[in-house]
């Protein structure tokens, strides 16, 4: 692959966005995206992630005072057509009046690329996305997955400085989504292109992002690697939004966390905390003295390879855990739980 373009570093400083009707979509945001990095903007709808992407793209202007820089060069006043960024949309946004090959070659045509070079580049893109056979198809003859492949090829054909993806997999069904996610991941790594990826799906964010920016109500809740965010969530919102987080209320005493359902040994527990958090995989079923907590089964879901249990321990919500044991669980049955001390978190 002949991707000679040097990857781009993107910096946003003080970028806020207030829409004409007074809605504040984005609080002043500072964000530095390193060259060649894949950054995922993650959050529920209305959190400002798409607005951030559109500001980077040049489809929206930040409020006065906000600045967008590409490799240290101010591009804030430039509109999207002058920024040379590739965009991929949830709705594919392919031109229905053009064939697959014409769609892919469109950006090159605008750049007045000579016919031979254009055809060669389109061929290269078709091969890269493994859609050579579709070259002459009309857009309405393609499946969703094929359409998104064409959209990726179209965006990459012009060798953009960065690739901006707005929920590219959301419109696809689950199986296809997984397949294409792996493909996009490989593609981004191979090309080494700077990518900004917007999604509301935390699994997608964890799989694709070098770093994840978790957003809530127009503000950044946390920026970090997937591991950081999963293992050391900065806020309750992040803890709940990324994966499943168990929370149990109590107090710290005698090197342990004392709850209504029993005591979890926790040597280094901060003295002031009233809530302990841990992931489902840090809980295991235990008998007798090995058990830290005792609770009753509120629900059991047999998933085939494992069983997902909800266990009531007197907290606000039941604890969630998964077990691979073959035994059957009955509603109301009492079980003992052991918590891995390495998995304990507090805020």
């Amino acid at each position: 692959m002949t991707e000679t373009m040097k990857p781009l570093a993107i910096t946003l400083t003080g970028c806020a966005k207030t829409f004409a009707d007074g809605t504040k979509a984005l609080e002043p945001l500072d964000l530095a995206i390193n060259a060649g990095e894949t950054v995922v903007l993650l959050g529920p709808s209305g959190c400002g992630k798409t607005t951030t992407l559109r500001i980077i793209a040049g489809l929206e202007q930040p409020d006065a005072g906000g600045k967008v820089m590409f490799d240290g060069e101010g591009v804030t006043p430039l509109s999207i057509e002058k920024r040379n960024v590739g965009m991929v949309f949830q709705s594919y946004a392919l031109f229905p009046n053009m064939s697959v090959a014409e769609n892919i070659g469109y950006g090159l045509r605008l750049r007045k690329t000579p016919t031979e070079a254009l055809r060669a580049r389109v061929g290269e893109m078709l091969a890269m996305m493994r859609i050579e056979k579709l070259a002459d198809r009309r857009i309405d003859q393609l499946s969703g997955g094929q359409r998104q492949r064409v959209a990726l090829a179209r965006a990459l054909a012009v060798r953009p400085r960065a690739l901006l993806l707005d929920e590219p997999l959301t419109a696809l069904d689950a199986k296809l989504r997984d397949a294409l996610r792996i493909e996009i991941d490989e593609l981004l790594r191979r090309l080494g292109i700077t990518a900004v990826y917007v999604t509301h799906d935390q699994a997608e964010a964890m799989a694709l992002g070098d770093r994840i920016v978790v957003m809530e109500h127009g503000k950044v809740a946390q920026i970090g690697t997937p591991r950081d965010i999963y293992q050391r969530p900065a806020t309750l919102f992040v803890a709940d939004f990324i994966g499943t987080m168990n929370r149990v209320q109590g107090r710290v005493a005698n090197g342990g966390f004392v709850t209504a359902a029993g005591t979890i040994p926790w040597a280094g527990a901060p003295a002031h905390i009233t809530e302990a958090m841990f992931r489902p995989q840090d809980i295991s079923l235990a008998e007798g003295g090995d058990a830290h907590l005792r609770g009753t089964i509120a629900a059991a879901f047999f998933l085939g390879d494992r069983t997902r249990l909800a266990v009531n321990v007197g907290g606000e919500k039941p604890l969630i855990l998964e077990t691979g044991t073959r035994r059957d669980f009955k509603h109301g049955e009492t079980v003992g739980l052991r918590i891995d001390p390495h998995g304990l978190l507090s805020l």
């Binding site: 057509e81 960024v85 965009m87 959209a151």
Partner: protein
């Protein structure tokens, strides 16, 4: 299967009777009357051989074509603009633009005379500015102005409805690939509006081919087919010629629309 066939025939019968009584029979009768002249097919061949008839056919076609193109351009621009930009008075302006729908051709002709006639506004202004009085109401130019005026409302609503359905993401995608405003218009907006342009254009063209009232108000000697038919029918009492011209007017309009529809590769009802 057979029973279904019978029932279908029965259900189609009312439509069939209607179609026969109000379309096929009159048309056949019209065609037949065209043949009742002294020379049989003479009335039909005269349309091609007689310079007056042929030139009026050509000028009618030309007028309808130019009216359609200009109307689509004006309505396309205005329709997309009105759909995209909400401003105070937007609704009132759209309502005003559709105002001429209710006017008969006579009123349109009257308005053209008030604007570009001997006592018209344009003449007064041009005389004040240059000393020459510009008068074009009683010619093809005046007729063209009137036709565009009453064609715009028919077209603009169709364009606005289609503009509302355009996907803004398509324009954003084009721009992200480096498309200027001009390219967005040519490569995204116009293709997106094409079905609306074809259907609105067909109605516009057919109406301009057959409109009579405006021409009649502006000048009795204006050389368009509906006027010629009127003259043949009422003044010359040449019924066969009038019928032949009428039949050809309908047939030519139908052919033009069918060709345009095929060329556009889209399913649009040809307005005949």
């Amino acid at each position: 299967m057979n029973r279904d066939g019978h029932r279908l025939t029965l259900l189609l019968l009312p439509a069939g009777i209607f179609f026969g009584a109000f379309f096929l029979l009159p048309l056949a009768q019209l065609f037949h009357i065209g043949l009742t002249g002294k020379e049989g097919w003479g009335a039909y061949t005269a349309i091609l051989t007689d310079r007056n008839y042929f030139s009026s056919l050509l000028s009618t076609l030309g007028l309808a074509a130019i009216t359609t193109v200009v109307t689509l351009m004006v309505s396309g621009l205005a329709g997309v603009f009105l759909q995209r930009n909400r401003f105070p008075g937007n609704g009132a302006l759209v309502a005003m633009l559709t105002f001429p729908l209710a006017f008969p051709g006579v009123v349109i002709g009257f308005m053209v005379i008030m604007l570009a006639g001997r006592q018209g506004l344009i003449g007064d202004i041009s005389r004040f500015l240059t000393g020459d009085k510009i008068v074009f109401a009683y010619s093809m130019a005046g007729l063209f102005m009137g036709y565009v005026y009453f064609s715009i409302p028919r077209t603009i609503l169709t364009v606005m409805a289609a503009a509302e359905k355009l996907d803004p993401k398509l324009e954003e995608a084009a721009r992200s690939l480096g498309a200027s405003t001009w390219h967005v218009v040519v490569d995204v907006i116009i293709p997106g509006l094409k079905p609306a342009f074809i259907s609105a254009g067909a109605i516009c063209f057919a109406t301009a081919m057959g409109a009579f009232g405006t021409a009649f108000t502006l000048a009795t000697r204006i050389n368009v087919l509906p006027m010629v038919i009127y003259t043949e029918f009422t003044l010359e009492a040449n019924i066969a010629m009038a019928a032949a011209l009428s039949f050809v007017l309908g047939a030519v309009t139908w052919v033009v629309l069918a060709v345009a529809r095929t060329a556009a590769g889209s399913t649009v009802a040809a307005a005949g």
